[in-house]
């Protein structure tokens, strides 16, 4: 899922300093699991804004905020509340926020969250980054563990000199990706494969902005 963090209250209020009334939009997917776009987060934001003298004209938690058409349909019954607001404050990821920029063509739309990474929820509200969406998966060669993401240097061919009893020199909280890869490939009997030199990444696969259209399914429809 997409991991988001709530911006500091002061930063949100500064963003809204010229705005008197606000409509809030959360998201029931990732942002709810992160607690940044859940009904509780929206209630808290409403209280914060009202305490700062703003009017909250209404709020909703979109089912999937980055799905532009679906969210547009969901917002239809709330036309009055959205139209009467000076600005829309979106409590989801950057994709969800920009979906609302598309829906509200002439209205100010602001982000309440910072969007951080694609994460695995390993415990409740504990997120780890394991994939950085490089567009060219190589983890068949690295024991199913991604060094592009989990090694701070993204090294593809083994540990650097900073590997330290299974931990990384960059931070005592980071496990050395290559110590993990070695241990796992030893268990799965793939150490021979680890001797293969992995070429540099093809960064043309990661150039932004990306567009992906699934033509086949379109034709079937």
């Amino acid at each position: 899922m997409i991991i988001t963090k709530s911006k500091e209250k002061d930063s949100v209020l500064d963003m809204l300093k010229d705005v008197k009334s606000v409509f809030l939009i959360g998201c029931s997917e990732c942002a709810s699991l992160c607690g940044t776009g859940s009904p509780e987060a929206l209630a808290e934001m409403k209280a914060t804004l009202e305490a700062a003298g703003k009017k909250v004209t209404g709020s909703t938690v979109a089912k999937t905020g980055c799905q532009v058409l679906g969210t547009k349909v969901e917002l239809k019954p709330m036309k009055e509340e959205t139209e009467s607001a000076d600005a829309i404050l979106v409590m989801s990821c950057g994709a969800g926020t920009q979906a609302m920029v598309e829906v509200f063509k002439d209205k100010k739309v602001y982000p309440a969250n910072d969007t951080n990474f694609l994460g695995n929820m390993t415990r409740f509200q504990h997120f780890d980054e394991r994939c950085s969406m490089c567009g060219e998966c190589i983890i068949d060669k690295t024991g199913g563990i991604c060094p592009v993401t989990t090694c701070p240097k993204g090294i593809l061919n083994g540990p650097c000199g900073g590997t330290n009893n299974g931990m990384c020199e960059v931070s005592p909280d980071i496990e050395c990706a290559w110590a993990k890869i070695y241990a796992r490939m030893e268990r799965t009997g793939e150490l021979e494969k680890m001797k293969e030199i992995i070429p540099p990444k093809d960064y043309s696969k990661k150039l932004s902005p990306k567009v992906w259209v699934i033509e086949k399914k379109k034709e079937e429809k």
Binding site: P152, K153, I155, N164, P199
Partner: protein, 294 residues
């Protein structure tokens, strides 16, 4: 005095030292230290924004040292350059008369003085070695013809005291395959461990220079043990530095470094020594003399 490549090829016990360019344009002190080393060492490493701290670029300093009469080793990391910049710097090194390049991934920006910088790592050390080999063959990374190839002697680094060692050895083997001609090791202190490492490294057709890091006092030794992965200073050496007291600690550290160089040379453990004095390069000739070298 032979240059690095010739000395290693001739089987001479080869000595390299290291200098770190300063931050800022006043390079007088560094050049003065380098002058002390003329005729005493085969080649001199010039670090590349070491510890991710901004300093004078390695390439320009290499050229100055070359003019002084040194055989510089251009340290090149992948932290600050993408594959375009890497290749243009390598060709630049060649036209400036620089013959050796030490290929490294590079310390992470989080270790340095510009923590908000974007780390590049388009290549890493193994791929950088492959890239140098390609340029030496007259082709760029993409296989395009070059008008004039580079002729760079390819160096790499290895950490013999890395824990766990096996993945490090696997990477060592990859570096050899990628084109490394010589290795300079991370600082070693445990000679038995180094012998075990060399038993394995000897199977490959590469030259190895043992990293000798001058211990300035017991505090530095404790710091290395606590904070620098892949370096283990034995308690016995720390006790010696302590016993030498504040006044005598550096002298004791120089003795220790000299003993290490002597053991490595006398026992023929590897092909030479890389002496790192971190700002005290002017002490290197004295260390070498104590070690019985020239």
């Amino acid at each position: 005095m032979k240059k690095l490549k010739e000395a290693l090829a001739a089987g001479e016990f080869t000595i390299t030292a290291e200098c770190g360019p300063p931050k800022g344009t006043d390079i007088t002190e560094m050049l003065d230290h380098a002058k002390h080393l003329l005729g005493k060492i085969h080649a001199i490493n010039v670090t590349d924004n070491q510890s991710a701290v901004v300093r004078i670029g390695s390439l320009g300093v290499c050229r100055l040292l070359s003019e002084m009469g040194h055989d510089p080793i251009f340290q090149l990391t992948c932290r600050d350059r993408n594959r375009l910049a890497i290749q243009s710097d390598l060709m630049g090194a060649h036209i400036l008369g620089i013959k050796n390049v030490l290929c490294m991934t590079g310390d992470h920006v989080s270790a340095g003085d510009h923590k908000t910088a974007k780390p590049v790592y388009d290549f890493e050390s193994v791929q950088l070695l492959q890239c140098v080999a390609k340029l030496n063959s007259g082709k760029d990374w993409e296989g395009n013809d070059m008008k004039g190839a580079t002729d760079l002697y390819q160096g790499a680094v290895v950490t013999p005291e890395s824990n766990p060692l096996e993945p490090q050895m696997m990477k060592f083997e990859k570096k050899v395959k990628a084109g490394a001609n010589f290795f300079q090791t991370q600082a070693i202190y445990d000679m038995d461990n180094f012998k075990r490492f060399m038993d394995r490294a000897r199977k490959y057709d590469v030259k190895v220079l043992a990293g000798i890091l001058l211990l300035k006092n017991a505090g530095m030794a404790n710091f290395l043990n606590k904070f620098v992965p892949g370096i283990t200073v034995p308690q016995e050496l720390i006790d010696r530095l302590k016993a030498a007291g504040k006044e005598g600690a550096l002298d004791c550290g120089m003795d220790i470094a000299a003993e290490q160089v002597r053991i490595i040379k006398e026992q023929g453990l590897c092909d030479g020594a890389h002496v790192m004095a971190i700002g005290l390069e002017n002490k290197v000739p004295d260390i070498l003399q104590r070690a019985g070298i020239a």
